[in-house]
Symmetry: C2
Subunit: 456 residues, 2 copies
């Protein structure tokens, strides 16, 4: 048996010093795997320590896998030791040097998080994690029942969505839920709005999946073009289309539903993008609630109404698709941590989400008003009756020239053509967000753009 000869200092507990000494002997190989250690009593006597001290040290070493007690045979160094560091991992490398970033105040994806109910969210997060140890186990792949129920209730009151919790699927962002759709429909062709948001298009491109761009008109996706496309799945954003800003009126919605009903296997994916922010008229209830044919898949996200770093989105599937989901995905785990689901559930159930929506609605309204005021005397403003972006056209100007000039002046601006798969409906058109542009800064920011655009 190897002799143990620790040297003790005065500064830290003796059991801790003995514990670290024995670990060091094991790691250096001085105490090899399988080696027998002295009994606790013998070691205590040998080192002039109390039995309690040695019991504590051996107890820790056993709990942590360095020693194993053998009945009537004392303690041995465990044969198998993973190379676990006793020290914390090395510190992370320093942050990389950040490139100077362009001014993002006109960003269309920005969200003002300064009005986020941070204290409430933090408190609910703390409550969720401290009060629910049962949430450590695997939850349902669709998400936790209670959250799905709370969401179904909220969407019913708010958007006229009709569903049971069985139809709700929670996921870590809309893109994660697009993966669900891509597996529910592995071969079907998508119809995408053109112009339209690029995220789904990029995903389909990355996977080599087929899709057809279908042009928009002043009322939304053109239904004759959709019919002609031969697509089975039409992805629409009828509340406030991105980027055109069109709100699809009731009549066109009815035509879209009739398109879906006309053939088996057709579905509308209703992404209720930006429904929360309206400035001139009431929102139209969701198509899902008017869908008697079970052909509408409803999608939404909390990333724009809460914060971009909170990754929770949802699908409401028609009942037959919900069953198909259960069959295909019942085994999987949700992509959203159950603690986060519970935090969100509390946030919804307490009414805090409704209050937050009202508050940010007021803030964004004032920003939209300020920007529209600066722009309407300069060029054509469209699509500003809802949402967090608008279209601004300077007739006769080239979009690429405008965005380049803006860039040289330090601003990140998006032109309409970025979102067009076909021809650009209106040249010289910029897509400007205002969620990140405080109202009092609008005059100066727009003034900078005027200068940049006017310069020779």
């Amino acid at each position: 048996m190897t002799e143990l000869t620790p040297v003790f200092q005065n500064d830290t507990p003796l059991y801790d010093q003995l514990y670290r000494y024995i670990i060091a002997q094991i790691r250096s190989g001085a105490l090899p795997a399988g080696e027998k250690l002295p009994s606790k009593r013998a070691l205590a006597e040998h080192l002039g320590l109390s039995l309690t001290t040695v019991e504590r040290a051996y107890g820790l070493l056993t709990a942590e896998g360095y020693l194993e007690p053998r009945p009537r045979s004392g303690y041995r160094v465990t044969p198998a030791l993973t190379l676990l560091p006793t020290e914390p991992p090395p510190p992370a490398p320093p942050p990389r040097r950040e490139e100077p970033r362009l001014d993002q105040r006109f960003s269309t994806s920005a969200v003002d998080t300064s009005v986020f109910p941070y204290a409430t969210w933090a408190r609910l997060t703390k409550e969720a994690v401290y009060e629910n140890p049962d949430l450590l186990q695997r939850g349902e792949s669709q998400g936790d029942w209670q959250l799905r129920g709370a969401l179904a209730g909220f969407l019913h009151q708010y958007r006229g969505v009709n569903c049971t919790p069985e139809q709700v699927v929670i996921g870590a962002g809309l893109e994660a839920l697009m993966w669900v759709l891509l597996q529910l429909f592995p071969r079907e062709v998508f119809a995408l709005e053109d112009p339209g948001h690029t995220a789904l298009r990029r995903l389909l491109d990355n996977l080599g999946r087929s899709y057809v761009p279908v042009e928009m008109d002043a009322q939304g996706m053109r239904v004759e073009a959709l019919e002609a496309s031969g697509a089975k799945l039409a992805y629409v954003t009828p509340s406030h289309q991105f980027p055109t800003g069109v709100t699809t009126p009731a009549a066109r919605r009815g035509e879209l539903l009739r398109w879906a009903y006309a053939r088996p296997g057709r579905y509308l994916i209703e992404d209720d993008y930006d429904v929360e922010f309206r400035y001139t008229s009431r929102p139209i209830p969701a198509m899902q609630g008017q869908d008697g044919g079970e052909r509408v898949i409803y999608a939404g996200t909390f990333s724009r109404t809460l914060a971009p770093s909170i990754r929770v989105a949802y699908l409401i599937l028609p009942p037959t698709l919900a069953e198909r989901y259960q069959t295909k995905f019942g085994h999987a785990s949700s992509t959203v941590s159950r603690f986060e689901q519970e935090t969100l559930r509390r946030f919804l159930a307490s009414g805090a989400y409704s209050r937050h929506l009202r508050r940010v609605g007021g803030l964004y309204r004032s920003r939209r008003d300020a920007l529209v005021h600066e722009l309407e005397s300069w060029g054509e403003v469209r699509g500003a009756d809802a949402g967090l972006h608008l279209l601004f056209t300077l007739p006769g100007r080239e979009e690429t020239d405008l965005t380049a000039r803006a860039r040289r002046a330090g601003f990140q601006l998006r032109g309409m053509s970025e979102y067009c798969m076909g021809s650009v409906p209106r040249p010289g058109t910029l897509v400007l967000g205002f969620a990140a542009l405080p109202a009092r800064e609008a005059p100066q920011a727009v003034g900078s753009l005027r200068q940049a655009f006017a310069a020779p």
Copy 2:
């Protein structure tokens, strides 16, 4: 102008009663959209209230979007009101009646969360959310730099993985990261271990993607069969294969690497499944660290070592693939909430994760020992030198008969054939987990199985 005639009680603040009264009038339509309200002073006088009371009420109503102040024109009811409920959403429906569940103590996916360092995790969660309001903004699609750095450091010390933070991709579970791989490799054919875990196979099936099952032998995936398969991407679990329990030795790992180097565009996906739990020998360092040809993609998850409801996993991409990732996905958001990333970073950096691994390692070792002890006198036990499951064979018995008998006795058991795409290598073989089977319960649980299997 509509007359306002609230009736005040004594029990709640007057400004709050006035606020609620005005909302009720708006919602009932008694105060229609666009209607002008009395000036604050006039209303205060009319109702016998202090100006402060009316100012507070009007202030709240303005902030929440019910009223809008027009310069020199007083307050008007806003024209656009989303149908936001003032009450919290209806309570969730009652939980469904749960079907009686089978005994899951032999489950291969179970994790014992009773030893989860809950208090530490809760405290770190609280600190992460209270101390980091900057985390509300969108983070990098790969995950936050600091966490990636901490993970790179940990994996280097622990598994000999060599990478910079740029090569790390964080995602909400391994399946979310598989979507990344499927987009990086939209057409390539996968080689999957046969027998093997079903999750990736199901995903590929759901998407109609091609894959080839490649059989295992006593040392891991058979390399001649892999070569013959024509696949470009080989998904392997060399630390403790599921379900065979094989640990791929150094020589076979070298052959797998040579397979990858033999042709351009070939990659190994090294899923380091269950490396954390070893009982008889030290783990072999990761192939990734020995990969001089940049052909190993390393994958791991925290779901088995922390808790199933915590959805964080990672890929370590070779540098060229990391660049391709940035190009294809730089725009997207991470699927993991930044608060959760920060909690995990603190958990790693503080050494708490290492301590936790040692502690659960000791617990799982005792459970493994107890189960092996009960089984080895009854049948053949294999694959028990690592991981959280083992293979148990009763020669001459039919696997389907055994699992059916177990089910009738109330136990959920898995047979080897569930994981086989080709022929079953060893009939009468069950795959038994022990993570969820406390050591003292092993004799009784195994005794129940013996009874169930022995009955006529």
